[in-house]
C-alpha cells in the first residue's frame, strides 16, 4: 500500500473524512473516492450506485463499494438529488483503482451548496491521513 506522501491528492478537489472527494462543476457536484480510499480497499470488484432522481441528506449512505478485501459504504458529502451516475463503473469497477479522480461515482445537485464549505481542502485532508 502507498505511503501518505505517495498519494495523489489534487489541489482543486474537496475531501471528506470518509475519504471521498467532491468537485463542483457549474451547479452540480461530482463525487468519488480518494486515492487513499482506493488504495486501502484494494481491487474494487463491484460498485452499487443509486438511481438518477434519488435524493439523500448529508451523511446518508448512497451506495456501496465491494473490493476483494471488504464491502464499504459510500456517504453523501452533501444533501441533494442524483442527476447522474457513472454507468461505466458497472462493467469496469477497476476505473476507481486506475484513476480515482477520473472515475467519479455520482453527480449531485444540491439545494444548499453552502454544505460544501464544511468539506476539507487538500491540506486538512492530508493532516487527517497523517494522523491515522
Amino acid at each position: 500500500m502507498k505511503e501518505v506522501d505517495e498519494l495523489n491528492l489534487p489541489e482543486d478537489l474537496q475531501y471528506t473524512k470518509d475519504h471521498e472527494w467532491a468537485k463542483v462543476t457549474g451547479d452540480t457536484v461530482k463525487i468519488g473516492i480518494s486515492d487513499y480510499a482506493q488504495d486501502q480497499l484494494g481491487d474494487i470488484v463491484f460498485v452499487e450506485m443509486p438511481s438518477v432522481g434519488d435524493t439523500f441528506d448529508e451523511g446518508d449512505e448512497f451506495g456501496t463499494l465491494e473490493s476483494v478485501k471488504a464491502v464499504s459504504e459510500l456517504y453523501a458529502p452533501l444533501g441533494g438529488e442524483i442527476v447522474a451516475v457513472n454507468e461505466e463503473l458497472e462493467d469496469a469497477p477497476e476505473l476507481l483503482n486506475q484513476d480515482p479522480y477520473g472515475g467519479w461515482i455520482i453527480e449531485m445537485k444540491s439545494a444548499d451548496m453552502t454544505e460544501l464549505e464544511q468539506l476539507l481542502d487538500r491540506s486538512s485532508y492530508l493532516a487527517i491521513l497523517k494522523g491515522e
Binding site: 486501502q40 481491487d43 465491494e66 471488504a70 477497476e94
Partner: protein, 486 residues
C-alpha cells in the same frame, strides 16, 4: 527455524469426469433384464442426461485426488478466527451414521421414534444449561438463521407489548458481519456503534443511543476482536431500562462454556453455532445448526416444534399461538444435532469448561509469542482469538494477504484476514483447544519466519503460494468475472 508441516511433493493431476473413461465402460455388471420390452410414450422419451462412462476405480481415484488438493482440519491446523474450526471427533460421526437414526423416517409418529426425540429434548436442556438461558429451539439451520429467529422473537415481543413501533437496533462494529443483515431482514435499521479505544463497548455511548424507538442491541461476546465485553451487564441494564432486549451472538461461545452465565449477563436471546462450539463439521457450505436460546419470558415466541417430555413420553409439540413459527422442515438439521449431543456427552461438563479454558490459553499463547513480530492493535488479555495486523510488514510492501498465502506453503490453513473491519489489514488467529503446545510452537516459529521473510525477501511472499496445485489466484478477476460453469 523448525519447518512447518508444509513440504513439496507429487501433485496428481485430474481431469473432469467427462474427460475420463470410455463409452460403454461400467462400474459394475448389471444382469440382463428379464422384463419384457414394452414401448414408452414418446413424450416420456428424450435425450438422457450426459453421464460419463467410468469404472469404479476411475471414480474412486477422481474423488480421492480432488480431496488431496483440499485442506481440512483433519489435514492440519486451521486457525480461522471467528469460525472455531476445532477438530470434529470421529465418534460423533459414528453415532450420526448409526442406522437407527439414518433409517428413521422424519414423518414417523412420535411413539415410534422416542429415542430420536429424546436426543432433541436432552440437547435442548443441555444447551440451556451451558448458556444459562431457560428455553431452547434447535430448529434454525445455521448461525445467521438463528439470528433471524432471534430478531423475529424481538419483533414478536415488542408487538406483544404494544406501544410505539421500534425501528432501530444498536449494532457494535465488533459484532459478527451477519448481525446487521439479520436485523435489516427483519425490518430494523442497524445503528452502528464504534469500538472504543479499548476494543470494547463504552457504556456512555449505549446510554446516549438507546431510546424507546430502539428494539435492543446485538452483542457478540467475546467480540470479533477476541475481547470480552466487560460492561455487558451495565449495557444490558440500560437497554432493558428503555424497554429493549439484548441479543447475544453466541458464535464465540467456545471461549466461555461453563464459565459465563449469559442470563446473568443480561442476555435475553442467544444463538449457538453447533458447527463451531460443539464440534460438528463446519465449512464447505454443509449443514450447520444454530439453536436459539431465550429467557423464560420469551419462551412462548420460540420457533416450533420443540420436543416436550411429560415424564413418560417424548412428544413433538403442537402449534403455539405466540410462536414465530417454523424455521426448518421436520426436526431441523438432525444429523448435526446428534453430533453435538455426542460431543456434549463425551466431553461432560468438566471437559467442556476445560475446552474453553484451553481455547483461551492457546490464543493467549499465540498472542504473546507473536506480538513482537506482528502489530497487535489491542494489547489486552484476549479470549479465544487474537487479532493482529500487517502494520509492521507494510513498510516492506508486504500485506496480510501475502502472509496468509505464504502460511499455506508452510502447511497451514490461513487465519481469517481483513476481518474484523475495525482493524485495517486484520489477521485473526483462533487456534482452538485442539492444538497441542508442540503444534502451536511450530506454528509460531513459522509465522516468525514469515515475518522475517517479509523483510528479507518480500517477493517470496508476493508470489506465494508455490507448493499447491494452483498458485496465486487472481481473486480480482474471479470476483469481477465469475465463471460459474466448467
Amino acid at each position: 527455524m523448525r519447518n512447518g508441516p508444509g513440504n513439496s511433493g507429487l501433485i496428481m493431476d485430474e481431469p473432469l469426469l467427462w474427460e475420463k473413461g470410455k463409452k460403454g465402460r461400467n462400474g459394475m455388471s448389471i444382469s440382463a433384464s428379464d422384463v419384457p420390452e414394452a414401448p414408452i410414450a414418446d413424450e416420456l422419451c428424450g435425450e438422457g442426461p450426459d453421464f460419463p462412462d467410468l469404472s469404479e476405480v476411475e471414480v474412486v481415484r477422481h474423488y480421492t485426488r480432488l480431496s488431496q488438493w483440499n485442506f481440512g482440519v483433519d489435514t492440519g491446523m486451521y486457525p480461522l478466527g471467528s469460525c472455531t474450526m476445532k477438530y470434529n471427533p470421529k465418534i460423533n460421526e459414528k453415532h450420526a451414521a448409526a442406522e437407527v437414526f439414518t433409517a428413521a423416517h422424519p414423518m414417523l409418529d412420535d411413539e415410534y421414534c422416542q429415542g430420536t426425540l429424546r436426543i432433541i429434548y436432552e440437547l435442548q436442556n443441555y444447551l440451556a444449561e451451558i448458556t444459562g438461558l431457560d428455553a431452547v429451539s434447535v430448529q434454525p439451520a445455521a448461525g445467521a438463521h438463528g439470528e433471524m429467529a432471534g430478531m423475529l422473537i424481538f419483533e414478536a415481543y415488542h408487538q406483544s407489548k404494544g406501544g410505539k413501533k421500534r425501528t432501530k437496533i444498536l449494532m457494535p462494529d465488533t459484532a459478527h458481519g451477519t448481525n446487521p443483515a439479520s436485523a435489516a431482514l427483519c425490518g430494523y435499521k442497524p445503528v452502528p456503534i464504534k469500538t472504543g479505544t479499548r476494543g470494547i463497548l463504552k457504556v456512555d455511548e449505549i446510554r446516549e443511543l438507546m431510546d424507546e424507538e430502539t428494539a435492543g442491541i446485538m452483542i457478540t461476546n467475546p467480540n470479533t476482536l477476541g475481547l470480552f465485553e466487560e460492561n455487558i451487564r451495565e449495557i444490558a441494564d440500560i437497554v432493558h431500562g428503555k424497554g429493549g432486549l439484548v441479543y447475544g451472538d453466541g458464535a464465540n461461545m467456545n471461549a466461555i462454556m461453563g464459565i459465563v452465565d449469559l442470563k446473568r449477563c443480561g442476555v435475553d436471546v442467544l444463538h449457538l453455532n453447533l458447527h463451531k462450539t460443539f464440534s460438528t463439521p463446519h465449512g464447505g457450505g454443509g449443514p450447520g445448526a444454530g439453536p436459539v436460546c431465550v429467557v423464560k419470558e420469551l419462551e412462548k415466541f420460540l420457533p416450533t416444534p420443540r420436543v416436550e417430555f411429560d415424564g413418560s413420553v417424548y412428544r413433538t409439540e403442537g402449534d403455539r399461538p405466540d410462536s414465530i413459527g417454523r424455521m426448518h422442515g421436520f426436526h431441523g438439521n438432525y444429523g448435526v444435532l446428534i453430533r453435538a449431543f455426542s460431543y456434549i456427552l463425551t466431553m461432560g461438563a468438566e471437559y467442556l469448561k476445560k475446552a474453553s479454558q484451553y481455547a483461551v490459553l492457546n490464543a493467549s499463547y499465540v498472542k504473546v509469542k507473536l506480538k513482537d513480530y506482528l502489530h497487535l492493535p489491542f494489547d489486552r488479555p484476549c479470549m479465544h482469538e487474537a487479532v493482529f495486523s500487517d502494520k509492521k510488514q507494510q513498510e516492506h510492501k508486504v500485506s496480510t494477504l501475502d502472509m496468509a498465502k505464504r502460511l499455506m506453503d508452510c502447511g497451514y490453513h490461513p487465519p481469517t484476514i481483513y476481518f474484523p473491519l475495525v482493524v485495517s489489514g486484520a489477521i485473526m488467529i483462533e487456534p482452538t483447544e485442539t492444538e497441542s503446545l508442540e503444534e502451536l510452537d511450530v506454528f509460531i516459529d513459522v509465522f516468525r519466519q514469515i515475518a522475517a521473510e517479509a523483510e528479507s525477501d518480500p517477493e517470496l511472499l508476493h508470489s506465494s503460494p508455490h507448493r499447491f496445485k494452483v498458485k496465486r489466484l487472481d481473486e480480482t478477476q474471479a470476483a469481477r468475472n465469475p465463471c460459474l460453469r466448467g
